[in-house]
Symmetry: C2
């Protein structure tokens, strides 16, 4: 390959990356705003509840952090607030006095179910110009990136 071909390839990949980033930031910003104004919650709170909804037996703190790929410190604050709101509870782990399992309360399960339906409808609206028949192709292309 000539130098100019290599340069073009890297410029093309840079364009692709900047577009992915711009798209993700645009949609994420819109969702953050709607979570705040319409559901009086936040995207990180929703993400924590979403992770817990997939773990009916509960998660340890470090498991929750790694599921979300954020620091323990941030997750602790979010879990504290969710506990205050009665949406999440901490349970002792038998045989390990220092560990706790975090799980949704019954109220948390129904609240998350409602929020997840609304979230899915928002995404459907924001991505309305993307035909479902094109989704597989987009997934395949993004698989090459990730």
């Amino acid at each position: 390959m000539s130098t100019s071909t290599v340069t073009t390839a890297s410029k093309e990949r840079l364009r692709a990356w900047l577009k992915i980033l711009k798209t993700a930031r645009h949609i994420e910003k819109e969702l953050r705003e709607r979570f705040r104004t319409e559901l009086d919650t936040t995207l990180p709170r929703f993400d924590v509840m979403s992770a817990l909804s997939r773990a009916p037996d509960g998660l340890k703190m470090h498991e929750l952090s790694s599921a979300l790929r954020v620091s323990n410190g941030n997750v602790t604050g979010i879990v504290d607030r969710l506990v205050d709101n009665g949406l999440v509870q901490r349970q002792a782990v038998q045989g390990d006095r220092r560990a706790q399992l975090i799980c949704l309360t019954p109220l948390g399960i129904t609240t998350f179910g409602d929020q997840a339906r609304i979230h899915e409808a928002w995404v459907d609206e924001l991505l309305t110009d993307l035909p479902p028949s094109d989704v597989e192709q987009l997934m395949d292309l993004l698989d090459l990136v990730h």
Copy 2:
């Protein structure tokens, strides 16, 4: 359209959005780490310098904030540090005593040029499995989202 078709469409769009988000977060995390460990800088600092590099006449603070879509407060701290490092300078605006123009210093211009080349090479490496010939198709699909 039947209910199940509508449901499938919104589930497909949700899949697409979660994939876009996951891809963006994965690449961004990798870039953040490299900026920190290999260039002793941060992604927000790089973004500020990138915006300034496209504005040789300088930008007012609110123009810089809106170019980056972040709050003024965060940008002020980043600009302060870049000024301390001699990479950015503030200039008075003729006829408007309260306004300042922010621009790169000569050292900032060469430093950003070096960082931008390295950043492009990282992206080229991280997206190496994406053939440049597929980029246009990915851009077209993401145009439908954004």
